[in-house]
């Protein structure tokens, strides 16, 4: 489970869905692993406005990850804007180290095992072999 994925998850119980306390889910007993994946700077640029930064910061603190910028980065911080790259095609712009760090944090840092806990009802969802399971016991549906 990628850190980015957590940005789009909440509790599966209908009674929790509209509760602000159910987002984000809280990782517990998380075992982290870096899984390398292809770097796509434009993907990072495009996805960034969708990331709820305060929620991300909270999650990262809970996971013991310290390399999160205090504020959501501006698009202009993601690419080198020095003279040599001015006027060239968007796809050929040189991404900054910040963009590579965000790629590492959002897409490559994964929870291999542990739990995701709902802050509203306390229900725990297991993550095993990197895959989270949101199936509910029938009395909770």
């Amino acid at each position: 489970m990628k850190i980015l994925t957590l940005n789009f998850l909440t509790c599966a119980r209908k009674t929790c869905k509209s509760s602000p306390a159910a987002f984000p889910l809280h990782p517990r007993d998380a075992e982290l692993e870096i899984v390398e994946t292809e770097f796509n700077a434009l993907f990072i640029q495009n996805i960034l406005p969708r990331v709820e930064w305060d929620a991300l910061k909270g999650l990262c603190t809970e996971l013991g990850l310290t390399n999160v910028p205090p504020e959501a980065p501006e698009p202009k911080e993601l690419f080198d804007t020095s003279i040599k790259s001015a006027g060239i095609d968007e796809k050929e712009k040189e991404p900054t180290q910040l963009t590579r760090d965000l790629h590492n944090l959002l897409l490559e840092t994964t929870i291999q095992s542990g739990k995701l806990v709902c802050g509203n009802c306390g229900h725990e969802y297991a993550i095993k072999e990197g895959i989270a399971n949101f199936l509910l016991p029938s009395h909770m549906v």
């Binding site: 789009f8 909440t10 599966a12 889910l25 796509n40 434009l42 895959i131 949101f134 199936l135």
Partner: protein, 245 residues
């Protein structure tokens, strides 16, 4: 939960969930070619769009566009394990009727060959309503694809007026205990002696949609149909929340 609801759930557990869990590897080996309408839909999305693939199976649609982010889900953990390999996307185990996402969040959703596994109209409409609710109210859209009753020219040959709720066998053949040459259709097989194979037949439940039924279900779910059609034995529709622009 009333009795029909409970019965529907138990029935699907036996005739959908258990079957896919058992046939996952082999099923996945036969599902790799994306359907053109789905491919077109996914490729038309602006870069950076965020969406869902509900009932993702082995995740074959996660290969189509790597410039969007898709959170895929399926009830079968064996299929999700296969789907989880397709970067940059994500895959998780979840039930269609209890998805772990917030309302009004996503640009798009696809639900390909999934809704037809739900065994009552109420459950099918509920699933569609659940998908529409997750979309952004202004411009979110969902592509839904279901098996058609009208498929006279297919090898199954079903057509108008026939029963819509059917069990479709999936034949898995075990070769000396190893899963190998199972097929959901008869096929000539020269490299193995048929006598060495032990057949196991799994019955999958399907509701075959008649013409117009998918659109009716979308409207009953409170949605709007933006576009719809027929492609190779299937009905499809692009749906949006009712207050869509």
């Amino acid at each position: 939960m009333d009795d029909t609801e409970k019965y529907g759930q138990a029935y699907e557990a036996k005739h959908v969930h258990e079957v896919y869990e058992e046939i996952a590897d082999h099923f996945s080996g036969t599902r790799y070619k994306p359907w053109p309408i789905v491919e077109r839909f996914l490729q038309s999305l602006p870069d950076g769009s965020v969406g869902l693939d509900i009932g993702c199976g082995n995740g074959k649609y996660l290969l189509v566009n790597r410039d969007v982010f898709i959170i895929a889900s399926d009830r079968s953990s064996n299929l999700v394990r296969i789907a989880a390999k397709h970067a940059p996307h994500a895959a998780l185990v979840a039930d269609t009727l209890s998805l772990p996402h917030r309302a009004g969040t996503f640009d798009f959703a696809i639900s390909i060959a999934m809704i037809h596994h739900l065994s009552t109209t109420e459950r099918r409409v509920e699933a569609i309503a659940g998908i529409l609710e997750l979309l952004m109210a202004q411009n979110g859209k969902a592509l839904i694809y279901v098996w058609a009753l009208e498929q006279r020219d297919s090898r199954r040959g079903w057509d108008k007026g026939e029963a819509q709720d059917v069990l479709v066998p999936w034949v898995l053949k075990d070769q000396k205990g190893k899963q190998s040459k199972g097929k959901d259709r008869k096929e000539n097989n020269n490299d193995v002696n048929e006598n060495d194979l032990e057949e196991k037949v799994y019955q999958r439940y399907y509701h075959l949609f008649r013409e117009g039924e998918l659109e009716d279900n979308i409207v009953a779910a409170g949605g709007t149909v933006l576009e719809s059609g027929y492609e190779k034995d299937n009905w499809w529709a692009i749906a949006a929340p009712a207050n869509h622009d």
